[in-house]
């Protein structure tokens, strides 16, 4: 089936013209293409028309371009149906089409956002996988011409107390994964000098065999300096800048587009790329310098699929084709076959297109920064990609054929309706014990051990830090606020998803996650402005998994459109599944808000001697709640929400911040009102005293669209009345101060509660 071609290097002709279906499947398997028989047959037809067999490099190239990772073949249909409409707003400059979303910040600047998963590599090699995840997302933002200004990293692992003997074969312990991933993000993010300001860590056993590592990045760019991922015109030169190309990261995208199993470790080590922040840091400077000087026509990062994806896409996006001299690519090692060079996913590489008259200036700038940059090809008028290697033509395909990946409308089944299920919600027998258990649950407990390992202040623009409150008594904030330019306008950044709720009900779980994202932005006095989604799901070829995906996407589209917060970029990660099961549906959201004046951002900790007001409506909604997890009660009713309610309350909250002096604000999320108030108390060691007895539903339900606000006592009634006048719910529920958390129904000493919350995560480390 394979015939070595008579050239002085490794090149095979693959005999597919007369191959049977079985043979096609065998070729796909043996070459690691991960293409289905139908897809192989399409390729067979194409080459039959051309009257020749393909070379190995051509088949490998198609496998990259047609992988789930690159062409979204399982998700595109549903994303278009439910989310596309929700990607529009008059201030959106570019949504969905490129590596990152671009949104207007003010008259002069735009902000750029990107959000991706790096799950499979991190499950195999947590340190390197997470580090290269950061590297990749930085390039996505950089390639728009933007200076990266913040990193965001939601992480998901199995339970930390999992006994080693219960670990499935080939699985690494969650503790090892957590430490490795955090170290990878820390060492890469800190070294490259971009602050890691937001994120989340969530533990659930559905992540035991499949941890999730999502990475996001926000950047800032002058509007007249935005660079697109397309060539300028015929004659432009392709310049490959940054790291050398090696055998690391071969078949990364095809590996990411299949389920992991116990053999993945051995088979896929080579698919995990190696990062190098010390190449990345000057690469960022050099790229931004050539952007600033206006020397580029286009720029794109090399991610999944390597050269094979970037060159064709850049040329085709501009309506052209490309000619490539593959032997010009600087290599890490000798003896690489052309196809390996073409699809390698070695890190720290960018592709630039440059007019010939600017090439000397561009190469000088890269040389100054000691960053290798090489001309590797040029843009040609015909929509064809041709590759030459040592004088031989080894590749010629229509670019449109390569990039026209398949698209599937995969069948799905929805969950059965919850009303057929029995709801178990009982009050706790022992309030104090239950409350302490909730505070010390790793999903709610203090995340300082992780947060402090990330430099969240480098670039000296982090106005609201991820940890807020009195020095060395800090508590969790709702969102970080960055001041990216000279003006006092700022960006609020948060990352949210509630996997427990999504597990019980993907639709309401996704809607609740969106609600939480908006709440966090509003809590710091930011106007919710845009979001990215990173959709992590199981195997899309299974209708139940596909059902989870469709439900979640539907809910996100509904909320986003209704609230008027556009989805500007995103990523779909399927196949987060092993023979032991799939991950909980995890639609991670990265929310960005605009803070009119960073000096007016609001922090979460009680400042003392204030009235505490609950804004919003509380219902008996315990599905996916921390309370139900701690109590072992089976609850199916995931909290409801609606875009209308969320919008009305958010607008009223923001208006109240303008009208009243507000000392602190925190959104009510995991653990309900009791945990929310406790977190606000911990930040300065100031307790709480309830004005009336609060019921267990009021204390622990996780109903959406709620905030707790601290205001001076003198304005408390006026503040609550402000909401009631709009027919919204707000009630003075107590006062801040003292050394106890007194909720009426029960009371605990603040120090004791503080201790179990602060040690909830570290006790496992």
């Amino acid at each position: 089936m394979y015939r070595k071609v008579d050239v002085p290097f490794e090149l095979y002709e693959v005999e597919i013209l007369d191959a049977s279906e079985e043979e096609l499947a065998k070729i796909s398997e043996e070459m690691g293409l991960a293409l289905s028989v139908d897809e192989m047959k399409r390729i067979q037809d194409y080459f039959r028309q051309k009257g020749r067999n393909p070379y190995d490099i051509e088949l490998q190239s198609l496998a990259q371009a047609w992988s789930e990772h690159c062409c979204y073949k399982s998700s595109k249909y549903y994303l278009r149906q439910y989310l596309l409409e929700a990607s529009k707003a008059d201030y959106v400059i570019s949504a969905i089409e490129e590596d990152a979303g671009v949104v207007e910040f003010d008259d002069e600047y735009a902000y750029v956002t990107a959000f991706e998963s790096h799950n499979h590599p991190s499950a195999i090699e947590p340190y390197g996988g997470a580090a290269t995840g950061i590297g990749g997302i930085l390039r996505d933002v950089l390639c728009m011409g933007a200076q990266p200004i913040a990193l965001i990293d939601p992480l998901f692992f199995g339970n930390l107390d999992t006994p080693y003997e219960k670990l499935p074969r080939g699985t690494k312990h969650p503790l090892y994964l957590l430490k490795g991933v955090v170290a990878g993000i820390r060492d890469y993010g800190n070294r490259v000098g971009i602050p890691t300001v937001a994120g989340m860590v969530f533990f659930d056993n559905s992540y035991l065999t499949n941890c999730l590592v999502n990475v996001g990045c926000v950047g800032i760019v002058r509007k007249d300096r935005i660079i697109h991922s397309r060539a300028g015109g015929a004659g432009d030169l392709f310049v490959l800048a940054g790291g050398k190309t090696g055998r690391d990261g071969i078949h990364g995208v095809t590996f990411a587009s299949a389920e992991l199993d116990e053999k993945s470790e051995e088979e896929a080590r080579g698919a995990v790329q190696l990062g190098n922040p010390i190449m990345k840091e000057p690469l960022i400077h050099a790229c931004l310098e050539v952007v600033e000087k206006g020397l580029l026509t286009g720029m794109k990062d090399l991610g999944g699929g390597g050269l094979s994806c970037v060159i064709g896409e850049m040329a085709l996006a501009a309506g052209f084709g490309a000619e490539v001299y593959l032997d010009k690519v600087p290599l890490k090692e000798e003896g690489m076959a052309p196809w390996e060079i073409w699809i390698s996913e070695s890190q720290e590489r960018m592709m630039l297109t440059v007019r010939p008259e600017h090439i000397d200036e561009v190469l000088y700038i890269f040389q100054k920064w000691d960053v290798p940059a090489t001309v590797v090809g040029k843009v040609i008028p015909e929509k064809i990609t041709r590759i030459y290697y040592k004088g031989y033509k080894i590749y010629e395909m229509d670019t449109e054929f390569v990039t026209s990946g398949p698209e599937y409308c995969r069948p799905y089944v929805a969950r059965k309706p919850e009303k057929e299920l029995h709801e178990e919600v009982e009050p706790p027998a022992d309030y104090v014990k239950t409350f302490m258990k909730m505070l010390s649950h790793p999903n709610a407990a203090f995340k300082e051990w992780i947060v402090r390992q990330y430099d969240h202040e480098v670039r000296a623009s982090t106005v609201l830090k991820p940890l807020q409150g009195k020095m060395n008594f800090e508590t969790h904030g709702d969102a970080a606020v960055i001041k990216p330019t000279r003006s006092f306008r700022g960006l609020a950044i948060t990352a949210d998803v509630n996997p427990w709720m999504c597990k019980v009900d993907p639709y309401w779980g996704a809607a609740s996650s969106f609600d939480e994202m908006v709440r966090n932005l509003v809590a710091v006095n930011a106007v919710p402005h845009s979001f990215n989604d990173c959709l992590n799901f199981g195997n899309p070829e299974k209708p139940e998994r596909m059902g989870e995906f469709v439900e979640a996407v539907k809910a996100l589209g509904w909320m986003a459109k209704g609230v008027g917060v556009p989805c500007v970029s995103g990523n779909v990660s399927f196949y987060n599944e092993t023979p032991y099961g799939a991950v909980a549906p995890t639609p991670s959201l990265l929310g960005v808000g605009i803070v009119e004046d960073v000096r007016k951002a609001i922090t979460s900790e009680f400042k003392g001697r204030g009235a505490v007001i609950l804004v919003g409506e509380t219902h008996n909604e315990f599905g996916g709640s921390l309370y139900s997890a701690v109590m072992g009660q089976r609850c199916h009713k995931v909290p409801r929400t609606s875009p209308e309610r969320l919008k009305t309350y958010s607008d009223a909250m923001l208006e109240s911040f303008r009208k009243f002096e507000v000392k602190a604000c925190h959104d009510v999320s995991m653990g309900g009102l009791a945990v929310c108030i406790a977190e606000m108390s911990f930040g300065r060691g100031l307790g709480f005293e309830a004005a009336r007895e609060l019921s267990f539903v009021e204390l622990f339900s996780e109903s959406n669209t709620r905030w707790v606000v601290e205001v001076p006592e003198s304005v408390a009634e006026g503040y609550a009345e402000f909401f009631r006048a709009k027919e919204l719910k707000a009630e003075v529920i107590g006062y801040s101060g003292g050394e106890r958390l007194d909720f009426g129904a029960f009371s605990v000493e603040l120090g004791e509660a503080d201790k179990s919350w602060r040690e909830g995560l570290t006790k496992f480390l």
Partner: protein
């Protein structure tokens, strides 16, 4: 000299990363500051208009962050590069009384260079390092606010500082001041008697305290020291991250870090 004449170089090489905010702090005081790649001092591939000499400037800053990834030891590669090409120039620069500031990684670089503790006025760069910034006691990188008590009257970088205790954040893995084993007391005596200890970590009451107030386990709670001439200053905490009020939760004005930059500019104006 006039303020507009003052030129400050913030040195960079591959992998350094706090230069922009440091330049910004100086510029907001009305002096000319720029980030200069160390290659601009010596490499022949650099074009004429981008070539620089150390003596084009009156103040050098080794910024915080990382340099060359610090895979060997923090600051080791940066200082080796500086030593190999700029040793004489830097010694001359210090002898002329021009100030050098090292923040975080820059402190580590100054220590590796032998510029700190810098006991010998006639030999501003010691043959080999006389102290080290070791791994934090917590064994990990930590980013947190710290309180520092001003201990030196002579260091030119704190002359303008009226407060006793200031807040600057730290962010490092290797920041624990250690002196040669067995010679700690001798070093301490020399530093104290010569007024070279500039900042020590304290708690909220202003008392010398342990972790987390002393974030790395530094000997004698030392956060920053200067050399014998009081013109070369290194510290682990980041004053440029507490320069503007908004960086430290104040609605107006400046943070405590402002005084460090202001002091050196005042000093240069009097030269």
């Amino acid at each position: 000299m006039d303020r507009e004449e003052i030129k400050v170089a913030v040195l960079r090489m591959e992998g350094t990363n706090c230069e922009d905010e440091t330049v910004k702090a100086f510029r907001s005081l009305g002096v000319e500051a720029e980030a200069v790649h160390i290659k601009q001092f010596y490499s022949d591939m650099i074009r004429f208009e981008e070539q620089r000499s150390v003596f084009d400037y009156q103040c050098l800053v080794f910024p915080g962050g990382f340099s060359a990834g610090d895979y060997i030891r923090a600051g080791a590669i940066f200082s080796a590069r500086v030593k190999s090409v700029l040793r004489k120039d830097i010694e001359e620069f210090i002898k002329m009384g021009y100030p050098i500031l090292g923040i975080c990684n820059g402190f580590q670089v100054l220590v590796e260079l032998g510029a700190l503790p810098g006991f010998d006025e006639d030999k501003p760069l010691a043959e080999k390092p006389e102290m080290a910034l070791a791994m934090n006691d917590s064994s990990r990188f930590e980013c947190r606010p710290t309180l520092l008590k001003k201990e030196s009257e002579k260091c030119i970088f704190v002359k303008n500082l009226k407060k006793d205790v200031v807040m600057f954040p730290v962010a490092h893995a290797e920041g624990k001041v250690v002196f040669p084993s067995g010679k700690e007391d001798e070093y301490l005596e020399r530093l104290t008697s010569n007024d070279q200890i500039v900042f020590r970590y304290v708690d909220e009451k202003g008392d010398y305290a342990g972790y987390p107030w002393n974030p790395n386990g530094s000997f004698y709670n030392i956060a920053g020291i200067c050399n014998a001439t009081h013109t070369v200053f290194g510290l682990m905490p980041h004053p440029e991250r507490a320069f503007f009020g908004y960086q430290v939760g104040r609605r107006e004005g400046y943070g405590d870090g402002y005084c460090i930059f202001r002091s050196v500019v005042d000093y240069l104006e009097k030269l």
